[in-house]
């Protein structure tokens, strides 16, 4: 009698488990943010088709697609990810660091020439790409990880690059134009850190510059007095 009860109970339990299993969805629920991005991309695609039918100019079509994707699709780059590097990169070597940037980036402010390190023990560097994207590298206080730049942070990550602890942020500086931020904060001494701030003019560029951060290596000369 007891054995029969146990058997019936077990079978009912299995049935309940199966019923519950059939009610759950294996897919992880998409976030509202992800859905918004998909909606914007979908509308951009439909608009693009309509424009091609109407014969709208290439420039107008590009503007609409860009606006729809830039303004309504938030950054989806994951700061912890390492996007694929730009197809062609150039290694820049200064007195205090080396970094690989997309090949069209040119140094527009040389911290070595600036010689600010005489006073502050570090230089300020700037690189500018062909599309106007810019990379700034200078020093910041260790407790200023989220100051000295603006942007709505969409993703953060703490990781190690070249055996150094790095805090990374991916952000949008504005929703009206393409100004996508990649920020890295690398503590180097008890009080000072190296700061990397990139203003990317496209999402692709932002991915390239997030990848570039992973090539950043600080040389021993950083922080030494002249």
């Amino acid at each position: 009698m007891t054995a029969a009860r146990v058997a019936v109970t077990a079978l009912l339990a299995i049935s309940a488990a199966l019923l519950l299993g059939s009610c759950t969805n294996g897919d992880s629920a998409a976030t509202a943010r992800d859905i918004d991005s998909s909606i914007a991309a979908s509308e951009a695609m439909i608009l693009s088709i309509r424009d091609s039918v109407r014969g709208v100019s290439e420039a107008e079509r590009a503007r609409r697609t860009r606006d729809a994707l830039a303004v309504h699709a938030p950054d989806s780059l994951d700061a912890c990810s390492i996007p694929i590097q730009a197809q062609e990169v150039t290694r820049h070597t200064t007195g205090v660091f080396t970094i690989e940037l997309p090949a069209d980036f040119r140094m527009t402010l040389d911290g070595d020439i600036d010689r600010r390190e005489k006073h502050y023990q570090y230089g300020q560097y700037e690189f500018t790409g062909s599309d106007g994207s810019r990379v700034f590298i200078d020093a910041a206080n260790n407790d200023e990880g989220h100051s000295g730049w603006t942007g709505s942070i969409s993703s953060e990550c703490d990781l190690e690059i070249g055996a150094r602890r790095v805090h990374l942020d991916v952000a949008n500086a504005t929703i009206s134009t393409q100004d996508r931020i990649v920020h890295a904060h690398i503590p180097l001494s008890p009080r000072l850190a190296l700061r990397f701030v990139a203003h990317a003019r496209s999402r692709q560029r932002q991915a390239e510059l997030l990848s570039a951060v992973h090539s950043l290596r600080v040389r021993p000369a950083w922080g030494e007095k002249d």
């Binding site: 029969a4 991005s37 309504h72």
Partner: protein
């Protein structure tokens, strides 16, 4: 009062039968309802929901990856000019497309207005029901309100929607060319998440008042 062994045996037998048919049903049930898979196969031969993007995209031309959306390609069919293969959300938002991901939904875009009525009739026969009505709210001024007429299977395991313009805006006028879509999916209907558009279960008439 003691119950007879026969009674206990009958209970056990029924329970075993219930469990067996539940397990059997789950194992043998196709992931994609026949109404949905047959519709996709009919309008886009070689494309299938629930299979890898890689397998389906071989039937398409000029396939491109659009982040947040999926793989978009050209379909060599008169009724539909373009096709979108949407993988599951985790794969859809990657910077680079992964064609090993499974196709979760398919959107066919048509520039041929004449085909709407025949497609609606076909879908009515396949699903043996009248469509439900909803509306897509435009995300930008450039887009019109769009009517959604959709069918789902009785147990909501998948469905097909026809999306057509409801309002007219100069910026979306296509000078006589009717741009409309057919979207097919597997799994329960989740409104905006399924259609990748701002879905409202009310009709466009109720929303716009015109």
């Amino acid at each position: 009062m003691q119950r007879s062994p026969f009674f206990l045996g009958a209970v056990l037998a029924i329970a075993v039968a219930v469990v067996f048919f539940m397990v059997y049903g789950r194992i043998t049930r196709p992931d994609v309802p026949l109404q949905v898979s047959a519709t996709v196969e009919n309008f886009a031969p070689g494309v299938a929901i629930g299979t890898s993007v890689k397998a389906s995209k071989t039937k398409l031309g000029d396939v491109r990856w659009i982040q947040h959306l999926g793989f978009v390609g050209v379909l060599d069919r008169h009724d539909f000019a373009l096709i979108r293969l949407a993988p599951a959300a985790y794969a859809r938002h990657k910077v680079y497309g992964d064609d090993r991901a499974l196709v979760e939904s398919v959107e066919l875009v048509s520039l041929t207005g004449d085909a709407i009525s025949t497609t609606m009739v076909d879908l009515g026969i396949v699903f043996r029901a009248s469509p439900k009505d909803g509306c897509i709210i435009p995300g930008t001024d450039d887009m019109p309100y769009r009517r959604v007429q959709y069918w789902t299977t009785p147990s909501d395991r998948g469905g097909v929607a026809i999306v057509t313009d409801w309002t007219f805006t100069p910026s979306t006028s296509t000078a006589g060319v009717n741009v409309w879509s057919m979207i097919a999916w597997a799994g329960p209907f989740k409104g905006s998440e399924t259609l990748l558009a701002k879905f409202d279960p009310r009709s466009c008439l109720a929303i716009t008042g015109a």
